[in-house]
């Protein structure tokens, strides 16, 4: 992870480095130029020194010749020594161009010293004429030295001309180079700073946007930040928080859904239990009486009546027992037959039941007391009002992953409004004398039981009878119904 602090340090270090290198370069160049200037000046100064020293020597000689004292002689010797020193320092200036002239120059100095000595010697030997001749010569040589100095300086200028020009040119180039470097560095730094600031602000902007999204309640979008610094750490933490909140919300929603389902089924259960309790008036007493009546009828030879009574008792027992349990289609079909037997006794010829049952489908699980209310509904609406009676057809067939149960009558049919009412699970006022469990109740329980809404279809039209189609899945989606029942 490259921290923001490290980035800033890096930027500062680079800037410092560039500035330091430029400074070192300039200092180095300045020093070099200074040295060159010094050297050039030194050369001229050395040459000038020779001229001065030669003049002084001649001057000292003149003074000595006029007043030959020891003091003047020693000052002459000092002058000569000075001249010799200057001569040896001139030797350093030798190069290819001035070789000849410089040798001549140094020899001229030698000649001057020799002539001076000769003059002093003649003076000490009292040969005044010779002495002054030598002095005249020394004076001439001194003048030649001055001229030769000028000549040497001239050669020097010619030799070094290109060098001097190159120094000027280089200074000019340095000025231009400085401007270019300044411009290049300015824009380089601008570019670098732009990238650098972008690498800090872009993740912050991304993070800000993500935070705004979260604030709006959109927890689904993933937070992506392209960075590798502290911001990225922040973003990762933020992302983890988002995922956690998202999970919690989903969990809460699931719980709420489950809770509402549970409450609903409990309500339904209570309602059906209440209804069933209302419908049983001391059932055991009623069973016993029905059994007794059945035996009595059997003993009196009314076997048909006896069977009827047994059916009624079975139906009642089933009604009381099975309301809160999942049962098989087989049980349902059996109860439906018992109910139909009782109804046959009532309607005799008018009721005609046709069944087409695929025995293999009878093991399908379903909520108790669903088939009987539907058939009862058919009987009440299709058979009772019709003088000629009618036919109820029950068809059970295998349809792959589910079993279809079709209950059809040939009565006057049902209007659209009522069908919608049933499918929307609205409770109707029970008509006539039913078991008390309404159609809506059945639909609701079926849907709760299987956890799907597409479990029942009602087809009808004016005068075309009613066809109720149940699609019972062979495997249940969830066991919530059972659990809910158990808890209730």
């Amino acid at each position: 992870m490259i921290g923001i602090q490290r980035k800033i340090w890096t930027l500062t270090a680079i800037v410092m480095f560039i500035m330091a290198s430029i400074w070192i370069m300039l200092t180095y160049y300045n020093q070099k130029t200074q040295d060159q200037y010094n050297e050039i000046l030194q050369r001229y100064l050395i040459m000038n020194e020779v001229t001065t020293a030669s003049r002084q020597t001649v001057n000292a000689l003149n003074i000595y010749l006029l007043t030959p004292t020891e003091g003047n002689l020693s000052s002459l010797r000092r002058g000569e020594q000075q001249l010799r020193d200057a001569q040896s320092s001139v030797g350093v200036l030798r190069n290819e161009e001035n070789d000849f002239a410089l040798t001549s120059y140094m020899n001229l100095i030698d000649s001057l010293i020799e002539t001076t000595d000769r003059s002093v010697m003649f003076k000490s030997e009292r040969e005044t004429e010779e002495s002054s001749k030598a002095f005249a010569e020394a004076t001439r040589i001194s003048r030649y030295i001055s001229e030769m100095t000028l000549q040497l300086i001239d050669i020097e200028l010619n030799t070094y001309e290109r060098f001097y020009r190159s120094i000027i040119e280089q200074a000019e180039e340095l000025k231009k180079l400085g401007i270019w470097i300044l411009l290049a560095i300015t824009f380089g730094l601008l570019l670098f700073t732009y990238w650098f600031s972008l690498s800090i602000t872009r993740p912050v902007q991304q993070l800000t946007k993500a935070a705004q999204e979260l604030a709006k309640g959109k927890f689904e979008r993933q937070i992506v930040v392209n960075s590798s610094d502290e911001i990225s750490f922040l973003a990762t933490t933020f992302e983890r928080m988002r995922v956690n909140i998202n999970n919690l919300i989903l969990e809460m929603k699931e719980k709420a859904r489950l809770k509402s389902e549970l409450q609903q089924s409990q309500l339904l259960l209570q309602e059906s239990q209440l209804r069933s309790l209302q419908s049983q008036i001391n059932p055991h007493f009623l069973f016993n009486i029905l059994d007794t009546l059945s035996k009595k009828a059997f003993l009196e030879g009314a076997e048909e009546t006896s069977d009827l009574l047994v059916s009624v008792a079975g139906l009642l027992r089933y009604n009381l027992k099975r309301l809160d349990r999942a049962v098989t289609l087989y049980d349902e079909v059996r109860v439906m037959r018992q109910y139909m037997e009782i109804q046959s006794a009532r309607f005799t010829e008018r009721l005609n039941l046709v069944t087409q049952i695929d025995e293999r489908c009878l093991s399908v699980q379903m909520p108790g007391l669903t088939l009987q209310p539907i058939v009862e509904n058919a009987v009440i609406h299709a058979i009772e009002p019709a003088e000629d009676g009618g036919t109820i057809t029950v068809t059970i067939a295998d349809a792959g992953d589910h079993v279809t149960v079709e209950i059809a009558d040939d009565g006057p049919g049902m209007n659209e409004e009522k069908i919608i009412g049933i499918l929307e699970e609205r409770d109707m006022q029970p008509e006539g004398h039913s078991t008390g469990i309404g159609f809506g109740n059945v639909v609701r329980r079926l849907r709760l039981f299987y956890g799907i809404s597409d479990v029942i279809e009602i087809h009808s039209g004016q005068g075309r009878g009613v066809r109720v189609l149940l699609k019972l899945p062979k495997t249940r989606r969830s066991d919530t119904y059972d659990k809910a029942i158990d808890r209730g």
Partner: protein, 325 residues
Amino acid sequence: MHKTISLALGSICAIFLFFTMISAIRFVQSAWQPPQLQHREEDRYRLVLVTQDLGTPFWNDVGEGAEAEARRLGANLEVWGTYGEDREDFLKQLEIAIDSKVDGIIVQGMDEDAFDNLTKVKAAFYGIPIITVASDVPMSESMRKTYVGSDALAAGKLIANTLIADMGGEGTVVLMGDQREEYDQRQRVEGIRSVLDRHPGIRIEYVTSSDEEEKIVAATQNVMNYFPNVNAFISVDANLTPAMVQEIGRRSQVEPYHIYSFDDNPDILALLRQGKLDGVIQQSPSEMGETGVRMMMQWLEGETVPLDAEGYLTDIRMLTTEGAQ
């Protein structure tokens, strides 16, 4: 947006970097090293050629010949001198050369006491050998080692013989010379006389003048006034020739006169080509320079000791108008 800014900044930066590079390269290239210092003097002979007439074609040739030879033999030679026969400066240069303790001096001879004094006393005192070139000075007066140049006597004879051949054995001949009457001029006159004296019909008039133009003109006028029937002019000093020829031309036609001269003046060849001169003694300046340096080196190296005091003579030939065309 970000990309555009980055791209713009990047390209500007690249452009500036490019110019910076170019500038840096130019900066580095403009550095020029000062000439290499030399810590000891070259172990070569230092020779000086001193002349009074720097810049004339004749002396340029002498200088070039000497320099070429010096290069060949590995000696350092410098040509010093004065322009336009500045005698004082010439002597000063000679003295500087002696005081500078050069190894050898090749000098245009000058028949003057100061010159003799410098060469005989001072140069000998420092042990510097002197060779005269082109113009000689007698050995006894200058202590020169040798002379390199034309044989002035032979040149005089050649010019006189040419004159006889052109003019015939009778007539008046004017010899025009410098009033300084230097040694080589005397030699030339002697050569001319030695030939002409054998012809009794020829009358010789020797006229001298200084080298100033008015004086030459005056001298020419005088001689032409005194001897109106003059037939020939021989200019013994080439520096007098142009003014003399001009004056003759102003007075009358140049053609009828036989005019001869020596070649050591820049205007001579032009006059010859124009036909104003009938003949010129052409010397070999380049050869003089070469031989002078060679002889000096031989003496310094100890190969030829002593040098021939009579001198080493270089070629002379007569150049006529036809030959110069």
